[in-house]
């Protein structure tokens, strides 16, 4: 009896730890991950009574490290996938069963209201992805539920947020196999299409694709209405005028670019780039107007006195 209370505490701790723990702590002994986290898998062929080892479909291999840091880390596979997957060989009919969608859990749920899943769904419905490919274009085409993390909300690094966001686009637009899943014969040519963009690599690292390729909704943190490529923003000044540093870099770039194109000494003179000076600073504009009107007023008063004196 004297061990009762410590025993109780130990049991409580075990239960608590278990409930915060993950199903994926030990992939090697996890029913699904023992195969789906490996490049190869082995099984006993009952028909032939042999042990067999085969290659795992690379698209079905789960990265267990990333799985354990994603937002769904506390879910088990069968929370979303059919429980029948726990038997092997998996029944062929399982592939035809509808998959759980994000909105099955997140839609209309007050506890997820801040993420505005329903509004996102409306926007996705308007997007070129959904318009072109219908319901086949699910959330998971961009947001891998296995690894998804709320980087845009939690990270303080712009580069990390941009990389995370652009990886979603590039996972298809830079992968012919995945791209063909929804595009048919169309070939993705991200680099060639963006050939017009100066410092392409730098832009890809520091600017999210969605910056130019979505219709911005003010009340949505990340716009999901991906536009057709013809409607993408191509105006450098959209970004390079709001911030003076961006604008400065644009000014320098354009200036050097045009000079490189027009090698003549006079090229620099017909360069059409310019940068607004003091007029972009409201206080300086106000001061300059005051000085101007004061000078004009002084002159007008002086003229009036000169006329009066002359008449006398």
């Amino acid at each position: 009896m004297k061990y009762f209370i410590p025993l109780q505490i130990l049991m409580l701790l075990t239960i608590t730890l278990k409930s915060f723990g993950q199903f994926y702590d030990d992939p090697a002994s996890h029913d699904c991950l023992k195969c789906h986290s490996q490049q190869t898998y082995s099984f006993h062929n009952d028909m032939m009574d042999t042990e067999e080892k085969r290659l795992m479909n690379p698209y079905l291999i789960i990265d267990t490290l990333r799985l354990r840091t994603g937002v769904h880390q506390n879910f088990d596979c069968t929370d979303c996938h059919s429980f029948d997957y726990t038997t092997y060989p998996h029944a062929a009919s399982l592939k035809l069963e509808p998959m759980m969608t994000c909105l099955d859990c997140h839609g209309g749920d007050e506890s997820f209201a801040k993420y505005e899943f329903d509004k996102i769904d409306e926007e996705v419905n308007k997007s070129i992805h959904r318009q072109g490919f219908g319901d086949n274009f699910t959330c998971s085409k961009c947001h891998d539920q296995h690894y998804y993390s709320t980087t845009a909300r939690t990270s303080s690094s712009i580069v990390e947020i941009v990389e995370n966001s652009n990886d979603m686009c590039l996972s298809c637009h830079n992968d012919m196999k995945r791209f063909s899943l929804v595009s048919g014969d169309l070939k993705s040519a991200v680099v060639d299409i963006h050939d017009w963009l100066p410092n392409q690599e730098l832009h890809f690292k520091h600017v999210r694709c969605i910056e130019c390729h979505t219709a911005v909704e003010d009340d949505l943190m990340v716009s999901h209405n991906i536009l057709a490529k013809e409607d993408a923003v191509r105006r450098c000044a959209e970004c390079h005028s709001a911030n003076s540093l961006l604008k400065a870099s644009l000014y320098k770039y354009q200036n050097l670019q045009e000079r490189a194109e027009d090698g003549s000494a006079l090229g620099v003179l017909s360069n059409e780039n310019y940068v607004i000076g003091s007029h972009q600073i409201p206080i300086l504009r106000t001061i300059s107007l005051i000085i101007f009107f004061a000078a004009m007023a002084g002159i007008i008063i002086h003229v009036i006195f000169r006329i009066i004196i002359k008449k006398k």
């Binding site: 940068v275 000076g277 300059s288």
Partner: protein
């Protein structure tokens, strides 16, 4: 050189410099205001406005060299020498004359002569404009034309922004100077007398 109350104040080189400078500065001010205010829709195309500004800027800058060299090699420089005695009192006296004295029968405190081409207020203004403001506008203009010469950042503020603001602020001071310069020039024997002088070189005293 003088005859019948006339002094030959403005030698040919100076009049050529002044003429080119006047036209250039007027073009620069008009095009500069257009560029600063972003009047993209106008009779003249915006691209042409920028090109005119660039050409006029280069011409006025080269012309500035004529002013510098002209003053170096001729005796015109002596008119710019500032006397330390009554350094502030002298221009104040001239300002008082313009604001009050000339309406109350006061004689000009610093009448122009062979030895004195500018009154103290004029001298100070010309010195500030020609040796501080114009060089600043030229240097910042060169910076904007060749932005790779500009520091990327100065205390976290864009170098291009600082250069552009300096350029347009100095341009603004030159505009104000021009307005006052033109007005003061009208205070002569007759309102147009001084304008004739800068064309023919002879100043009536």
């Amino acid at each position: 050189m003088s005859s019948e109350n006339k002094i030959y104040f403005y030698p040919l080189w100076l009049r050529i410099w002044h003429g080119i400078n006047a036209l250039g500065i007027i073009l620069l001010i008009i095009t500069g205001i257009s560029m600063n205010s972003g009047f993209e829709e106008s009779v003249i195309s915006f691209k042409l406005i920028i090109t005119v500004h660039n050409y006029a800027g280069v011409i006025v800058s080269l012309n500035y060299l004529l002013f510098l060299i002209g003053n170096m090699v001729t005796s015109n420089k002596k008119f710019y020498i500032v006397k330390p005695k009554n350094f502030l009192k002298r221009p104040m006296k001239q300002a008082y004359y313009y604001a009050w004295g000339m309406f109350h029968g006061m004689k000009a405190p610093y009448p122009l002569s062979e030895k004195r081409k500018f009154n103290p207020l004029q001298k100070y203004t010309y010195l500030i404009v020609m040796y501080i403001i114009v060089p600043l506008v030229i240097i910042s203009g060169i910076g904007l034309m060749f932005p790779e010469l500009i520091f990327n950042k100065i205390y976290n503020i864009s170098g291009v922004l600082i250069t552009a603001v300096t350029h347009s602020a100095m341009g603004f001071f030159i505009s104000i100077f021009l307005i006052i310069h033109l007005y003061i020039a009208s205070i002569g024997k007759s309102p147009l007398d001084n304008f004739r002088s800068i064309v023919n070189g002879w100043h009536h005293v």
